[in-house]
Subunit: 243 residues, 2 copies
């Protein structure tokens, strides 16, 4: 059974203000719900089509074809903790706006074992339903925090770490020395889809990188998509650690 008030409440979680006030977000799909249950996240309630019926499921679902399971999950309480571990390889997102991009970036971070992802406060909400679905479950495994990115980078530099960013005038990613964060924090900055890395953040970058096009002297495209550039960059860091 599900009451009209519950339906109304679940639907309200499509909006950030209601996720903020309740501390809950929605997860849909058998596989994602199972991953939520197996994770460190606290699952408040699971609704199954078998229990509440197809019509009720269609009302609470945000998907075009409602899935057989939907869960209300509590946001972790370390969401706004901007503290960086003393070492490790981190991502810092400088204003990612597209939910699909953010979800894809979390999947990449999960695949390549990024120790935590930090995001500027103007980055899209990670509990937006489109982000949650696009992560394919990575949201339950990757540490994620909102924090001002320039301050984070300054702290990393102060701790003897490195801050990497991709720029059109950067150095060839494939040939540059890269620090995987074994001794001090290494941060890879991902810029906004349209505007790239902001001025304040760019001022903290210690190592400017560039993904060479092919052939190297061919202008061609002006840029790669934010998630794609993220993947190529992190892959280069990890390929040097993998036998």
């Amino acid at each position: 059974m599900i009451t009209n008030n519950e339906i109304k409440f679940i639907k309200s979680l499509a909006q950030k203000k209601f996720r903020d006030s309740s501390g809950l977000f929605v997860v849909e799909g058998e596989k994602l719900v199972a991953e939520a249950l197996a994770s460190r996240f606290q699952v408040e309630k699971v609704y199954r089509k078998a229990d509440i019926g197809e019509a009720a499921m269609a009302r609470i679902s945000g998907l075009s074809s409602p899935s057989p399971a939907l869960a209300l999950v509590r946001r972790p309480d370390d969401l706004d903790t901007g503290e960086m571990p003393a070492k490790g390889l981190f991502l810092a997102l400088d204003g990612i706006r597209d939910p699909g991009n953010l979800g894809t970036i979390l999947r990449i971070a999960d695949w390549f074992g990024i120790d935590a992802v930090f995001a500027s406060p103007d980055t899209v909400d990670v509990f937006n339903p489109k982000v949650v679905q696009a992560t394919m479950g990575a949201i339950f495994r990757v540490r994620f925090h909102y924090t001002p990115v320039p301050q984070l980078c300054k702290n990393a530099l102060k701790a003897g770490g490195k801050v990497y960013g991709t720029f059109l005038d950067g150095e060839n990613l494939y040939r540059k020395a890269l620090d995987n964060g074994k001794e001090a924090p290494s941060i890879i900055i991902i810029g906004n889809e349209a505007d790239g890395i902001s001025k304040d953040t760019a001022a903290c970058v210690s190592d400017r990188l560039f993904i060479p096009p092919f052939p190297a002297d061919d202008p061609g495209s002006e840029s790669l998509n934010a998630a794609v550039a993220t993947a190529v960059t992190i892959s280069e860091f990890r390929r040097r650690q993998i036998k």
Copy 2:
């Protein structure tokens, strides 16, 4: 001036059947229209807000905020020519369904100088407005053809070429010998978002690749997004050619 019949016609091009019957597709945005005009594509007509007015522009636009320019562009007549050049590095898309993914893949192909992209007939229409916008202009530079992928791969093998695909039981991409197609065709297969590479196509793969996660023994995510896997794979081919 723009007539009601023109408006109706332009709006009809959002549907594939009307793009097929007319041979035309829609391009929106100052930058994209300029790229179309500078390309080998034939631009049939350009509508500008300055000429037809904001109200008419809003009616013909498929974007949530209409841009100042929209062009009708003729599809190239080599769209269904499945002939492969005697050498080069190619992509073959085995049922990519998401317009955003296809657009992003064309951007990647453009950046990394892929000689042509082939797509199976069940791949999403490359002139779908969402694909066109997501390519950021790469659609005007990258050669693109629809063709049955298994036959294409068989032809490449017959010509002494290689066919690469990523599989969970493939070999470490970073350590494997890769042929850039300098002597014979090399094809990189990109599988469908949900189902991966089809059985018929997999049967033609000569070299099975795998993008190692990190750490190598951590299951973590099950997979990378199709466009992301494409980028990491092509990047590895090109990094060996770039000084």
